[in-house]
């Protein structure tokens, strides 16, 4: 068990800068997810932790001591690859046993012909077999030990890869998009299994994914990365409820957050589509800002809109998406220079909206995330800073 500390890790491939000084402290036994769009450097970062790639600057420490000079297998880390990287010519049992045969047998005891001369080899191999069987039993692979990887289903291969990682009792598990090659249903199932495995083993997990759902559902903390830097580090709810920047807000959450163009009027007061809001921000007059509103924060307004800290705008229904328990409604903002918005609705509420019908959508102004033109989050000014009452954002 070990904590992992990354300090100002930088990496370039030729002229391409991939990581620009990443600092990250991962607690002992934590499940940390690195999430971000492809090319954001998350895979490179995990490969640097594994020792498969060398950083140009900065240092990796595992369990309090630097591992920069150590080979991958000396770092007491295990890695699960997206492709599983199982040895195709070896049985499942031999695949899982390989890390142990490498560490417990000397080189000459592994060489063909020469190994027959070793007296201890047999007893060592018996110990390895017992360990492999124990791990296989945990992963329900015991009946598959004699098979070759090609004879297994995707989910079984995934478990073999996990078994090969677990058998060494590593301090840190590194997982590089381990669920990406599975079908949707199995992916959901394996999410639960991985989370439970983490709880059972108590080891530190560092998990790389481009799927924000995986990041949200499994992690203790999530590090959202983009362009080689960590944009925000926090619990899944922190990232969802208080995204530090526009990029984080757009990446986390499904459907994607709605962005409405707003502008500042006198005193930093916000205006949405020319209508003044109760919100005010510490910006000069005439600045453009983006209002981020989650799809569940929108609601249909019956009767007179506005008032009571609620903003509103009119929209036209383009499409309904039936998810069974709820509907996703897609609206166009008629005649406005803005992308459409999406809204979650109960089947009953969705039934009340007709295609192409013009409706009024409203949202609680306190639920809006405000982003400046450079994408940074802006907190609205507290009470009294501007006229009207501004309720502070929930933490």
């Amino acid at each position: 068990m070990a904590k992992v500390a990354l300090s100002s890790i930088a990496k370039s491939f030729g002229p391409t800068k991939v990581l620009g000084g990443v600092d990250l402290d991962i607690a002992d036994g934590e499940f940390l997810t690195l999430v971000g769009p492809s090319g954001c450097g998350k895979s490179t970062l995990i490969r640097i932790i594994a020792g498969l790639e060398h950083q140009n600057a900065g240092s990796v420490a595992i369990g309090g001591s630097s591992v920069d000079h150590l080979r991958p297998h000396e770092r007491r880390v295990a890695m699960v690859f997206q492709s599983y990287a199982l040895y195709p010519h070896m049985s499942v049992g031999a695949n899982i046993a390989l890390p142990l045969t490498m560490s417990r047998l000397k080189l000459w005891q592994r060489l063909p012909l020469l190994r027959q001369l070793s007296a201890q080899r047999r007893s060592v191999m018996r110990g390895i077999e017992a360990d492999v069987e124990a791990v296989a039993a945990q992963l329900q692979l015991d009946h598959l030990l004699a098979r070759k990887p090609a004879q297994l289903s995707g989910g079984q291969r995934q478990r073999v890869a996990l078994g090969r990682a677990m058998v060494r009792n590593p301090d840190v598990f590194l997982m590089d998009e381990p669920l990406s090659n599975l079908d949707a249903k199995l992916r959901v199932h394996m999410r639960t299994e991985l989370a439970e495995l983490h709880k059972r083993l108590g080891a530190t997990f560092i998990y790389v994914t481009h799927d924000q759902v995986e990041a949200m559902t499994m992690s203790d903390r999530v590090a959202m990365m983009d362009s080689g830097a960590v944009l925000q580090l926090g619990t899944p709810s922190q990232l969802y409820e208080k995204p530090a920047s526009l990029k984080v807000a757009q990446f986390i959450g499904s459907p994607t957050i709605n962005l409405l163009p707003a502008a500042t009027a006198a005193g930093g007061r916000l205006e949405l589509f020319g209508r003044p809001l109760a919100l005010a921000v510490p910006l000069a007059q005439g600045e453009a800002v983006a209002l981020g509103i989650r799809s569940e924060a929108l609601s249909l307004v019956q009767g007179e809109p506005g008032g009571n800290g609620r903003a509103w705008f009119s929209a036209r229904l383009r499409r309904k998406e039936n998810l069974g328990s709820e509907y996703i409604l897609h609206f166009d903002l008629a005649g406005r220079d803005a992308a459409g918005v999406t809204m979650r609705a109960t089947p009953a509420a969705a039934a009340g909206v007709n295609e192409a019908a013009e409706v009024t959508l409203g949202f609680d102004e306190t639920a809006a995330h405000i982003f400046a033109a450079d994408g940074e989050r802006i907190e609205p000014r507290g009470q009294g800073a501007a006229t009207g009452s501004v309720v502070p954002l929930r933490a």
């Binding site: 991958p72 297998h73 990287a85 040895y87 010519h89 390989l98 080189l107 592994r110």
Partner: protein, 307 residues
């Protein structure tokens, strides 16, 4: 499928007619390939077998049926026995040298990034060159008094070696030239095999503790090159069995028969002495050897190779 399962009694005449057309069409499609096979392989083989059972001499007017006499003569002939032993010796040197050498070079070249194509071209050059032309160059290089190789040996204090005119070294020298010619082609095959091994596997192995080159080679490279090695082994063996051109150009079977090989003897019997019937019998023996060797290798190794 459903047609095959249904009983014939239930077939209407149109169904039967369609089945018949289908069968004729199928045979029609197979016909061109079969005709080619017949004309280029089966028919010549039959003629060869027929000739081998006669005492036909090239240009002769008549011939007699001699049964298996040609084969009996061949198996009793000390020259043929010697040439067979020489051929096997040659194969025994060229196959390990040409396969393992090519594997070693491929592994070394594969790691190079910028210079890889340069090495590929250099090692592949002998394959593209005409061996008969290159044989003259080799003859000069290995010449006891004029050749630079012996010049170097003399400078090192090792007396001049008459590589090609000394019975004890002639066959081995030809084998080295054979390896030189084969190695580039085999290297390209091994390089293709190496490229097909996913990089992930080496990384996984690195994390699992295969840190030394020997471990990586034995755990990943060698097993995953199985199918390539198998192919290279069989083709190299067949090529080595067919040694002819260097013998014909450089030694003519000498000195004292030390480089007489099977194909050269067949050539002598068939085209110099015009014993066509006898040469046909020898060719049959030669083909049988290649067939048996390839079959044994394929069946013995196939079980150990992971595809």
């Amino acid at each position: 499928m459903t047609l095959a399962l249904a009983s014939t009694a239930g077939f209407t005449s149109t169904t039967r007619r369609r089945l018949w057309i289908e069968r004729v069409t199928g045979l029609g499609f197979a016909l061109p390939a079969f005709a080619l096979l017949l004309l280029t392989i089966l028919l010549p083989l039959a003629v060869l077998l027929w000739l081998s059972l006669t005492n036909y001499e090239f240009g002769g007017v008549d011939m007699d049926w001699v049964g298996l006499a040609n084969f009996q003569k061949a198996l009793a002939d000390p020259i043929i026995r010697r040439s067979l032993v020489n051929t096997l010796l040659y194969v025994a040197i060229v196959v390990p040298g040409g396969v393992l050498g090519a594997l070693l070079i491929a592994v070394l070249v594969h790691r190079r990034k910028r210079t890889r194509s340069f090495y590929e071209v250099v090692y592949f050059l002998p394959v593209t060159s005409t061996l008969i032309a290159m044989a003259t160059v080799w003859q000069f290089l290995l010449h006891p008094s004029l050749g630079p190789v012996n010049g170097l040996l003399k400078w090192l204090g090792i007396g001049p070696i008459a590589f090609l005119s000394e019975p004890s070294t002639a066959l081995a020298t030809l084998a080295v030239i054979g390896i030189w010619q084969l190695i580039g082609f085999n290297m390209i095959l091994f390089l293709a095999g190496l490229t097909a091994i996913p990089r992930d596997l080496y990384e996984a192995a690195d994390i699992d503790g295969c840190s030394s080159g020997i471990d990586r080679f034995l755990t990943i490279t060698w097993p995953l090159l199985g199918p390539t090695t198998m192919f290279v082994l069989v083709t190299t063996m067949i090529t080595a069995f067919k040694i002819f051109d260097t013998v014909a150009v450089m030694t003519r079977g000498g000195p004292v028969g030390s480089t007489e090989v099977l194909l050269y003897n067949i050539y002598l019997e068939g085209f110099q002495y015009f014993h066509t019937g006898y040469a046909a019998a020898l060719t049959f023996i030669f083909l049988a050897f290649i067939l048996v060797f390839s079959a044994v290798q394929t069946f013995a190794l196939d079980k150990k190779v992971h595809y």
